[in-house]
């Protein structure tokens, strides 16, 4: 009962002037947990509402399986949706809220009751069926909204920031639960969020959207290791990737980052980047490591230290940028101290500063074969 969603050159414009979504080409596979993530105003909710049929499609073709659905009313698209506000009917009991759609679709009474009790059992709402939404906590309301989506047995489920009204602990639980339900029913899930942690932890695949354009689509880990451009690099991952502009010093075979940090770079890297006039490098927090003998050591000034118990997050001043490092365990580091750290050119991802596109990814993105190759060349 799974179905896939295809979009070809989807465009959304308001009043023929403001373009909200531009040229969206996308396939969401059957039974996939697909996350659309982006900052507010990126157009992710609009796209979701276009799939639901709540917003008109200005241009392009949208299909579910092989059927064009551009002009199909929402109720004929055979999908369910969970709203950010939950959209529960405040005057109805939980039972009536869950059954609303089944009654509207004239599902027979026995079937209604059967599905109601199965769903309520599974979601843990059995004891609350006779309550009104206002007598429930935020988490329970969220569950009612989920139950309503599941009881419809629609193969596609759309979720619009469903966890944004919950506290952190509950959110972590619900992430797991939603994922479990999606797997259990083999739902094709399209999930909108602005929270990159939700995107990373829940999605089979993620689409990063900014200003109405697709920035990158891929597996969470690929987006993390090999961000296609500076926007994705700074959006995916917590803390964000450390970014710095480069001055090339060909004579001493060094790249000087933010006018401060001089890192040795081998010939082949310099060679491969020689056509790019302006370069920005990015390095993940976990790749700025505690100093080890025999590795390249740099000294950075510590700006702030956050001791989290299992790891220590250290912020450095690098030119006008703030870089962060994450070291496992507990470290006794003072603010203002000049701290020696390992930074290797191999952990750098290189971006063209003018186009913001990725030119050369770091070693964590390379496949095993490539890495051996790189070592051999050294």
């Amino acid at each position: 009962m799974t179905e896939k969603i295809t979009m070809n050159n989807i465009v959304k414009r308001y009043d023929k002037e403001v373009t909200v979504l531009d040229d969206i080409d996308l396939t969401i596979n059957e039974g996939e947990f697909f996350v659309m993530v982006g900052p507010s105003g990126s157009g992710k909710s609009t796209l979701l509402r276009m799939i639901a049929g709540l917003e008109d499609i200005t241009d392009g073709v949208m299909k579910i399986d092989d059927n064009v659905i551009n002009h199909l009313p929402p109720k004929k698209r055979n999908l369910s949706m969970v709203f950010q506000s939950y959209a529960l009917y405040p005057h109805m009991t939980v039972r009536d809220n869950i059954l609303f759609g089944l009654k509207a679709r004239k599902v027979n009474k026995e079937e209604q009751q059967k599905r109601l009790h199965e769903t309520a059992e599974m979601i843990g709402l059995s004891d609350y069926l006779d309550r009104k939404p206002r007598q429930l906590s935020g988490g329970q309301r969220q569950r009612v909204a989920l139950a309503r989506a599941i009881v419809s047995q629609a193969p596609i489920c759309l979720m619009d920031e469903p966890l944004s009204n919950l506290d952190a602990k509950l959110r972590a639980n619900m992430r797991i639960e939603i994922r479990r339900l999606q797997r259990q029913f083999g739902l094709t899930m399209v999930y909108v969020t602005h929270d990159q942690v939700e995107a990373m932890t829940m999605g089979d695949r993620i689409m990063v959207l900014d200003s109405g354009k697709i920035q990158q689509v891929g597996r969470p880990i690929d987006l993390y290791n090999e961000p296609a451009n500076l926007f994705v690099a700074s959006f995916i991952g917590s803390p964000k990737m450390n970014i710095g502009t480069v001055q090339k010093d060909i004579g001493s075979k060094k790249f000087i980052i933010e006018g401060e940090l001089a890192v040795d770079v081998p010939d082949r890297v310099i060679e491969s980047l020689k056509d790019i006039p302006n370069i920005t490098v990015g390095i993940r927090a976990e790749h700025i490591t505690p100093p080890e003998e025999g590795k390249e050591i740099h000294t950075l000034e510590v700006m702030n230290v956050e001791n989290l118990g299992n790891e220590t997050s250290i912020a450095f001043d690098v030119g006008k940028e703030i870089w962060t490092a994450k070291w496992p365990g507990q470290w006794d580091i003072k603010v203002g101290e000049a701290l020696p750290v390992n930074i290797s050119h191999e952990d750098f991802a290189y971006f063209d500063s003018d186009t913001t596109q990725l030119i050369r990814s770091s070693r964590s993105a390379l496949k095993e074969g490539d890495e051996i190759d790189a070592v051999q060349q050294k």
């Binding site: 709203f83 959209a87 009917y89």
Partner: protein, 308 residues
């Protein structure tokens, strides 16, 4: 030890009383403007009316003879007052449901997202900006037996002229028509406001779940609008009981006391017949009726009202 502790307690208590008194005075200062206005224009006239209802007065309204409950007993046995009582209830029954249903219908229409809907919203709410006097004159022309538009229209489809304001069978209906028309502007505006504050995602969810137009209307719109409907109901009923202007202009309570609604009857008794005592008694009766109606509505209807 013991005595010093109780002394301390005394000081505390004194301090506490002092702050309480200070707060009380502060509160009264804030309330003072309202207290003065209400006393002058509401409480004093109310008490005076109650007082007058136990007396007979001279032409100037000075109480002369104490008659106890006589004025009330007179009312109870008076055919004219009974008629006025029945007319008033009939009038309320005609106009309240009709006004609300028509206004709700228009509000639902005007709540659609269509081009040019603003024009209709202005049109439907425009009677709010028309004074009772102007509206009544306008309807007087429509009701005119020889040259009125209504009778002409009836003539076209071959129906005899109706003496709208002169026929005892029609006068109350004519007054009701006028009042409904006047009410619609206000009722429409309040209901439209109520409709627009309903969370759109409720409808979106209903669309996705396959609900049709009437299911959405009766299972979402009406229940979500119930607090607004309740408010409109209470206000319309109270207004209906207090109708005066259109009667004074159109029928003057006639024909045969058919449109002699209570407020008009009070006016006639007091300022035409100069019977301030009996008029006051009628006013007190009206007050009690409206009070009871409102309390009953809050007791029963409010249970069915859903607040967020």
């Amino acid at each position: 030890m013991q005595s010093s502790r109780s002394e301390l307690q005394d000081v505390f208590m004194k301090q506490k009383r002092k702050t309480r008194r200070k707060n009380f005075i502060k509160g009264i200062m804030f309330l003072l403007p309202s207290i003065i206005l209400f006393s002058l224009f509401l409480f004093y006239p109310m008490i005076k009316t109650l007082y007058l209802s136990f007396f007979l007065t001279d032409m100037a309204g000075t109480p002369t003879v104490f008659v106890g409950l006589d004025n009330y007993i007179q009312l109870y046995t008076s055919d004219i007052f009974r008629k006025s009582f029945i007319s008033t209830f009939l009038f309320v029954l005609y106009i309240v449901p009709t006004s609300i249903i028509i206004a709700l219908f228009l509000a639902v229409l005007a709540n659609e997202k269509l081009k040019g809907v603003g024009l209709f919203r202005t049109m439907y709410s425009s009677t709010m900006g028309i004074s009772v006097a102007a509206g009544s004159i306008f309807w007087m022309y429509l009701f005119n037996p020889s040259m009125g538009l209504l009778n002409e229209a009836l003539g076209v489809i071959g129906i005899d002229s109706i003496g709208w304001l002169t026929d005892p069978d029609w006068a109350l209906i004519a007054i009701s028509l006028t009042t409904i028309w006047m009410n619609i502007g206000f009722t429409f505006l309040i209901l439209l406001g109520g409709l627009q504050s309903i969370d759109q995602s409720l409808y979106e969810n209903a669309n996705i779940e396959g609900a049709g137009y009437f299911r959405k209307l009766f299972q979402i719109t009406v229940p979500m609008l119930s607090p607004t409907l309740f408010f409109v109901l209470v206000v319309t009923i109270i207004n209906a009981f207090q109708t005066f202007g259109q009667i004074d202009i159109l029928t003057k309570g006639g024909p045969q006391y058919e449109t002699n609604l209570i407020v008009y009857s009070i006016y006639r008794e007091a300022f035409v017949n100069r019977q301030f005592g009996p008029a006051s008694a009628q006013a007190v009766v009206l007050f009690v009726i409206i009070l009871i109606m409102t309390v009953v509505q809050f007791k029963f209807a409010e249970r069915k009202v859903h607040y967020q």
